[in-house]
Subunit: 204 residues, 2 copies
DNA sequence: ACATTTGTTAACCAATTGGTTAAACTATAT
DNA sequence: ATATAGTTTAACCAATTGGTTAACAAATGT
């Protein structure tokens, strides 16, 4: 119960569940531990969310709904590619520093349960590349940027932004950095990554 | 029991355990399932590897020992930065296509158990940035490449190479690709990624 | 005031799980 | 042949786990 005031019990449970599920995963999480964290009886979990599976799905959808808008920003707004990359990189890294477990959680559980994404794709707000693709193709044709497919560019943007958080323990070990140091590295990336991408694709 | 001939029972078990642990993680894996996959009695698992934890550690170290040499190649050999990036990208993606669960497995369990990496760091072969750092700093000073820290460059290289495999289900959904299509995307990346990085850092 | 719905709890339960045991089987040495 | 050490199995066990129940308390409506 980190936050003192959760509006209602339902949200209180969801917050506790979020913490536990995100750090231990679906199979590693224990209902009793979630109940303890929420400061309630275990039976209450089942009263509000019928089963572990449903509680998990609530947490997962909630987590995903935080990420999706961030992606839509880069995919569907009307700014230039360069602006998009700059804004996204800065915004996204800021966002993830606040929710460090999020990307790893989503990636992990999606790998464990690939059919799960089908449900998400039905949602209207699910990120879609169509518009971004048109923009990239056009910019390539006009010679604004070097030839690259929208898909590969999109993958690169995601990779450079998300990976350092997903692989944090690994990278910390390789680069011999402590937590404070690592945070500085990530802060630098808010501008570094955008420059890195733009340098790579802009026409000379 | 995919492979017909495992030299000895120990390896037979390890292979089965690898498959199960890598797809379900430590907490999701069941000893019974590993035994079934290995075609042996569950008690045999405990006979050869005392506990689930020890069996898991054997699998994990084995997996990590496959990855480490790949990284050392880029960090410690004597070729130019440009060559290193080209070789690593091509080799690494080829390697991962053969072991698709590997990076996700390592990242996942390391996040779950960050102290675990301390044991690995003790090993002599653990990847180390020192030499790479000198090389990058020198190339920057000589003006061969644009200013960038070795750490950030290294993170970018890892990110661009590893992330697409870790986040496969997510990216497949966003880009609306099927498995065959996705494999083509990854094949393209064997050269695309190297070009992307080199374009970004080489001096104009 | 009383009944009914909603929220909460402790005790319980069946299934699963990692791990053990003791007996049996197999090979090797003597 | 017989003892010995290593290998394999089925049955078993205690602990854990997700989930249920039945009784109780607190609101809410009438």
């Amino acid at each position: 119960m980190s936050k003192a005031k959760d509006k209602n019990k339902e949200e209180q449970i969801l917050n506790a569940a979020k913490t536990i599920f995100q750090s231990k995963g679906m199979s590693g999480a224990r209902m009793q531990e979630i109940a303890d964290k929420a400061g309630i009886n275990k039976a209450m979990l089942h009263y509000y969310y019928r089963s572990k599976q449903l509680l998990f799905e609530a947490v997962f959808k909630n987590a995903f709904s935080l990420l999706a808008p961030q992606l839509n920003a880069i995919l569907n707004d009307d700014s230039s590619i360069e602006e998009k990359i700059k804004n996204f990189t800065s915004n996204y890294i800021t966002f993830i520093i606040k929710h460090p477990y999020l990307p790893n959680f989503i990636i992990q559980e999606l790998n464990r349960n690939p059919e799960f994404i089908l449900k998400l794709k039905e949602d209207k707000g699910f990120p879609n590349l169509d518009k971004f693709k048109i923009q990239v193709d056009e910019d390539v044709k006009k010679g604004f940027i070097k030839p690259i497919s929208a898909e590969q560019l999109f993958i690169n943007i995601l990779a450079l932004n998300i990976f350092p958080f997903v692989a944090k323990p690994l990278i910390m070990a390789f680069t011999n950095t402590d937590d404070k140091n690592y945070k500085e590295l990530m802060e630098d990336r808010k501008t570094e990554v955008a420059n890195f991408i733009i340098n790579s694709i802009k026409s000379t």
